[in-house]
Symmetry: C2
Subunit: 219 residues, 2 copies
């Protein structure tokens, strides 16, 4: 019984890693679609989000069955509950990638981003892709140094988000209302993406170390 449980827990970890890889691909493509006015790539990100939702459903079902069939207690039970929260956060990160892709598609053939913000948003896309890949690595290798990297990359995303808004508020800033609206939301989506990544990282750290400090937050 114990062996079966461990095997199923391992499948749960595999599913979460699969979700994380999906999210990493989605945010990478969404960023590229946004920065290169690639409507086809944007459409792909949007269309493929249902796959992520489907994996989330599988993960949730697996968690409920694991609890019902194995009646875990203690750390095993908490692991499963944390797994549920990680899957919810990854699903939300996928939604954010999808929202970003929607801006690229809507603005096509124009860019959704004003010239003033191309560098900042490009840097946000790089940082968001980096945290997504770090989550994949964290889920696969459980190397806690990666978690620290995620927190620091999220700090970088927060700085870029602040820069993005500061640019808009500078004296004499000229952009159309549409451009300001785009910057307001795109920057926010990347920033939220980072927040969720930190939430996921903290939960994985909790699983690995049993340290509950800071596990709560941001979902």
């Amino acid at each position: 019984m114990r062996t079966l449980f461990t095997a199923e827990m391992s499948e749960l970890a595999d599913d979460l890693a699969a979700m994380a890889r999906h999210v990493a691909l989605a945010i990478d493509r969404a960023g590229e679609a946004l920065l290169t006015q690639n409507a086809e790539l944007a459409q792909q990100v949007i269309a493929e989000d249902v796959q992520l939702d489907a994996i989330e459903e599988t993960v949730d079902e697996r968690c409920v069955l694991l609890i019902a069939q194995q009646q875990p207690v203690g750390l095993d039970l908490r692991t499963i509950i944390v797994g549920l929260r990680i899957s919810a956060a990854l699903e939300r990160m996928g939604d954010l990638a999808q929202h970003i892709a929607e801006f690229a598609r809507r603005a096509y053939p124009d860019s959704a981003i004003p010239d003033s913000h191309v560098d900042t948003i490009a840097a946000m896309a790089v940082a968001a892709n980096k945290v997504a890949l770090e989550i994949v690595e964290l889920l696969e290798a459980r190397d806690l140094n990666v978690a620290a990297g995620i927190v620091s990359d999220d700090d970088h995303l927060d700085e870029l988000h602040a820069t993005s808004y500061r640019l808009v508020l500078e004296d004499g800033y000229a952009a159309t209302p549409q451009e300001i609206l785009n910057v307001a939301l795109l920057s926010r989506y990347f920033e939220r993406f980072g927040d969720h990544a930190v939430g996921v990282a903290r939960r994985i750290v909790y699983l690995v170390t049993g340290d509950h400090t800071g596990e709560r937050s941001s979902i």
Copy 2:
């Protein structure tokens, strides 16, 4: 054993209702602070969000203990898992109310909202407060007609959100970049508040009817 379990499930329902009442008060006050430039009220909403986080922690702990001690299966187990999701959504709704209050505080003594949007944002505040009160009612009375009301009020919030952005994009619209930024985010926060409310409503419907259709989504 069975009786104890039922009593504890009832406490879980009470905790969720308490969270919902907290959220309803927070969004009501956040809207008022925003529309009347009341920095003190805004500060109160911001300061009291920790209370909501604390109830969420209690709810989560109660859920984990319920599972560990009672080893529920079937509908009982699903009820507890759904309870966890509802508490996460309510906590997030509280965060959104807090974000709205932060805009009121930051803009003080000015209004965060340009004249062009006072009516629309005021209508969003009314609708958001309405869905929050409906969630309280749904949790307390489990009357499924209330769930339909939440969905329709969320539709109204979505329309107001679209109106809000459409106004910004009208020919000749004149506002400062700061005002556009504020409208972009405030409108988005109210709209997300409605999305989470619908997610909560669907989960409660699921609990009451056992109908899983549409339970997933939006968190």
